[in-house]
Symmetry: C2
């Protein structure tokens, strides 16, 4: 494993330029074994070569998930926190949770949902819950670019963006005219201009209560969200509902499954048809239609809305077997598969046929090059970049490894067994993911299978059970289960990113936009938050600007009047990595994180008279407990 003290480590750890090289190296290692190792070490220079050697050697041996004390993981895993509303960062292969990123939830520790800066992201009167599903990193030319991670909220119809440099949420957009954003993916090529977001549930438009029984008239929308501004760029009306989505490697197409092409409002109705469909979106045509003004708007937003229902130039509908769920593009960019859920069938599309389909030269199902029968309840498929696919079978509680080329031969009538192995997982898998497998850099080392039930796999914790995220070594011919990972509250989905793709900051940049508005407020008060400790009384509003340097606040006593609206702004002057401070006003529901070089603020009412203590709630120093002060509240 990697020695964190190796001075050469930062070279591969923080520089994007090494990323593609890493993938090439690990593939060569995989193919060439120890003879290749020697050659690589000499071409790359001793330090980096040896780091890569030790890391890759471990991954290739792949016997277990052990990452010893002080050793670094090889991959970041970005896990959705499901209905916990958060995103989690795991290390792989250890499967340890490294960090939680509050997104749609309220987080007591950091004050997410309590501080002014987080409220500015969440919006006024934000709900207390979220249901985060599909985390996806921004890409350039089909590779992760380490800039953002996007995540949807099914519960309250939102899309959020996380900045990877500080691993915090910086934008949240509520999608108008929709209920329940489910599928989410990014445009892969040439770069992530759009985040694609499926609204799942069909509703009346306008949804004013006057047309609730006109179920056939309901519809839902496919959304293109601008990745930089986070505005909704356009919405496309579709037939049926929308489940999962993915995009191709040319930048021209996105495509979504629909499990309810029937438009039913009940279970039986949505299982009626033997085939539902995949709807394909032509991004160029959508952009052209928006540009030419061929759109409507719906009440409550000025987002251009286009009609992509059957017969539109913007879409094509391909019938696929019953209630399809996952849609997954293979790393080579040649194929995508739709997973049948209520059919044992996975349908494989050849993506370069979509041009002909949109030009009406072929029929929708002419884009299909294989129909693979794998087992009961296929939900999602991952790829190793070496020609193999791994499909979760929900009902069978298995992962099925199958070969893409063999599947095509079988579809063409040849007598070929495309199924290579079935591995039991525990129990009922949903999403699965391979290391780097959702990019063109798929490296075929690890597969994570996310199980919905754990039943007897862990010590019992009452009626509620953890989920079970299992790590599988796929570097050899046979899949090997190497780790059971209990997780809280449906980590619905994840992605696995080589550490070389992620650059983080150890300290905040003082110009970070996160707290720019707070600095502007301070300047209007004539306060330089970095050098001054000052209390501003402004009618019944009080603004308290204080610095923090372990183990003291710049102000340890201030006076207000009962009923005053108090804003406390803390600027952490510490420049030492990991010295985060907190600010907690006891009995006032107020708490926040202030990491090194960060400014954070919180506003509350001083509604109780007398001495009110505040303290540092993030352990910072041997004298941490002594880091405290008093707000003296004169009675009203």
């Amino acid at each position: 494993m990697i020695d964190p003290k190796d001075k050469n480590l930062p070279k591969i750890d923080v520089e994007d330029s090494q990323a593609t090289e890493h993938v090439k190296v690990s593939r060569r290692l995989f193919l060439g074994g120890s003879a290749a190792l020697a050659g690589i070490a000499s071409t790359l220079g001793a330090g980096m070569g040896s780091s890569l050697l030790s890391s890759s050697a471990h991954a290739t041996s792949g016997a277990d998930s052990t990452v010893g004390p002080g050793e670094l993981d090889e991959y970041y895993g970005f896990w959705s926190g499901g209905h916990s509303g958060e995103v989690r960062v795991l290390g792989l292969p250890s499967m340890r949770e490294l960090m939680r990123i509050p997104v749609f939830n309220v987080d007591s520790a950091t004050g997410w949902g309590i501080t002014n800066e987080s409220k500015a992201v969440l919006g006024e009167n934000a709900p207390l819950n979220g249901d985060s599903h599909h985390p996806h990193m921004s890409m350039t030319n089909g590779s992760y670019d380490g800039k953002y991670v996007f995540i949807n909220d099914k519960a309250n119809t939102r899309v959020a963006r996380i900045r990877c440099d500080i691993m915090k949420t910086d934008k949240i957009t509520t999608i108008p005219n929709c209920q329940a954003v489910h599928g989410l993916r990014v445009q892969k090529v040439p770069y992530t201009k759009y985040v694609f977001a499926n609204a799942e549930f069909r509703i009346p438009h306008p949804n004013n209560g006057l047309n609730m029984d006109d179920v056939p008239g309901y519809y839902t929308l496919f959304n293109g969200v601008d990745a930089e501004s986070m505005d909704v760029a356009w919405q496309v009306i579709v037939d049926g509902n929308l489940d999962n989505t993915d995009a191709d490697y040319t930048g021209k197409y996105a495509f979504s499954t629909s499990y309810n092409s029937e438009g039913a409002t009940d279970l039986a109705g949505s299982m009626k048809a033997e085939r539902d469909h995949l709807v394909i979106f032509n991004i160029e045509r959508i952009e052209a239609a928006v540009k030419s003004g061929k759109f409507i708007t719906l009440p409550g937003s000025d987002v251009p809305v286009l009609d992509g229902r059957k017969g539109s130039e913007l879409t094509r509908y391909v019938p696929v077997p019953k209630n399809p769920h996952g849609i997954n593009t293979a790393p080579g960019g040649k194929y995508a598969v739709a997973n049948g859920k209520l059919s044992p069938t996975v349908t494989m599309f050849q993506l370069d046929k979509f041009d002909s389909l949109f030009d009406d030269k072929i029929k929708p199902r002419d884009t299909i090059v294989a129909e693979v029968e794998l087992g009961l309840g296929p939900l999602h498929t991952a790829f190793d970049g070496k020609g193999n696919a791994f499909t979760t079978l929900f009902i069978d509680s298995q992962v099925c490894k199958w070969n893409i080329e063999k599947a095509i031969h079988a579809y063409n009538g040849e007598s070929v067994d495309y199924i290579l192995q079935k591995l039991d997982v525990h129990y009922q898998p949903g999403h699965n993911h391979t290391s780097m497998g959702e990019t063109r850099d798929a490296d075929g080392k690890y597969l994570v299978s996310l199980q919905k039930f754990s039943k007897d796999r862990f010590l019992q914790c009452g009626p509620l059970h953890p989920e079970n995220d299992q790590l599988i070594d796929i570097s050899g011919e046979e899949m090997k289960l190497i780790h059971d990972g209990p997780t809280y509250a449906e980590p619905h989905d994840c992605m696995i990113v080589h550490r070389s793709k992620v650059k983080t900051r150890k300290l905040y940049d003082r110009k970070d936009p996160t707290f720019a508005a707070t600095i502007t407020m301070a300047k209007a008060d004539g306060v330089d938050v970095y050098t001054q400790n000052k209390v501003i009384h402004d009618g019944n509003k009080v603004r308290v600007y204080m610095t923090s340097v372990a183990p003291v606040y710049g102000i340890n006593e201030f006076r207000v009047k009962q009923g005053d609206e108090v804003t406390v702004v803390v600027t952490n002057l510490d420049q030492i990595e990991d010295v985060t401070h907190g600010f907690c006003m006891v009995n006032h529901g107020v708490q926040m994180e202030i990491s090194p070089q960060q400014t954070a603020s919180v506003t509350f009412t001083a509604d109780k008279p007398g001495v009110q203590w505040f303290y540092c709630n993030w352990f910072c120093h041997a004298l941490h407990m002594e880091m405290r002060g008093r707000m003296l509240v004169e009675p009203a």
Copy 2:
């Protein structure tokens, strides 16, 4: 390791009667090695014997923390979630997080802070934050009894109780007349009648804003909370402030450290004295004083308040070196140690001398039998039950293993080196804990050291770093570091409980008090929630009673008027372990957990007209996504 399919497993897994036997067995194993194993297998019967064998053999070999796929951990760890406000359940030795228990926080996943049942526990207008510190399990005769875990909230001055059978919080008490509950422990003998809770900050009484500058007149209170009713039984006024607390093994005494005997309000002031103190509370005398009516009450509560300041019969004050922090009773019950923080000194008390101290036969410092110099920043001490102690050295970033008897000899002037080993930890340790080490069943297998900083030990996640909980094998002569565990937002403290001590329910009992009030409401509406699906219109209030059986709700469509206050009550009829359902009303901030055989309810306003979808947010079935329905809201 344990084979979960072993039919004999439940015997040791769920029966308390095996617990003490376990400890005896593992000690014999430790002493006797493989010869002992054979004997035990024959005395205990083949099935259970072999389970114990494999489990204990692993723990004794102790080479690493690996718990293979499907293998069960040997210990439950109950971790405070620090300023995340929650409690976490970990498995040891794998250090995997098995479950989160929402306590003082809002939890999007389960709807804690959103559902009616959780609001009844949290109270009206509960804060969104908490700062949970010290989890401790209820005890009988000095052993864990598996009934409750108690935890304090420093941020909003509360004490909570978690039921271990369902691993949910069932009571939260706000401590009156206080700010910031810090130290918390339970009475160990004869049973946990009281939970002892230290209020840290000295404040004026009454705290009405008229006496804020009379700092010498400030005081704080030591609290006895009735473990069953969760009412505050009594409060004791003390000199100085209060930090950590512990209790003895006779049930007669509790004792707390004070880092601010000076009563200062600033850092310099609270470091002035070379000695602060340990204050010892005489529980029998406190109970007698309450009984005899010798108490006052403070405004805003009728809790009996006793004066335990210097000179009182209820307390004794023992001077100990500078700003002591942790106070820890050794498993044998003979000694307790106070950790000096700003002094390298750990002070050891012989607890059977406390009777004489309270009878004024000896002086306070006559209770001290050793003063141990270990290194810089001693904060907390744990014990292996074999005569050794393990003290965290915050500034040195080390754990120091030392021998109790040798320390006494040294204090008596003998030339003895009591320090056995110092082990580097990474970095700055706070609390530490041995397996079962806070009970008379200490088994000397594992030590967990909770580090406040992780710095370079994990992949970087931006300016905020995880903490680092390290697992150390202490079964041999030398401590061995075997695992680094990243954790979120200061897991301040933990405790390590053998799995035989914890019995959990797999399904809710339909008579569970958690939802009894909801059942009463249903009965008043004439509804049997277990058999009926019914909508009750009551003016502008609507109560929707529905069942759930994967993958359908009993009601998939109901009508209300815009502005109605809607209460949805869901009863999960599934009887299969792990089949938890959710209920999420899209765009309404409403979400909740309904585990098998549970009833849960949530109230919200139907403020938007038109079709409003709800769905099951806890994955339950292959047709989980199809488990949904519509609230039809007629416009106002």
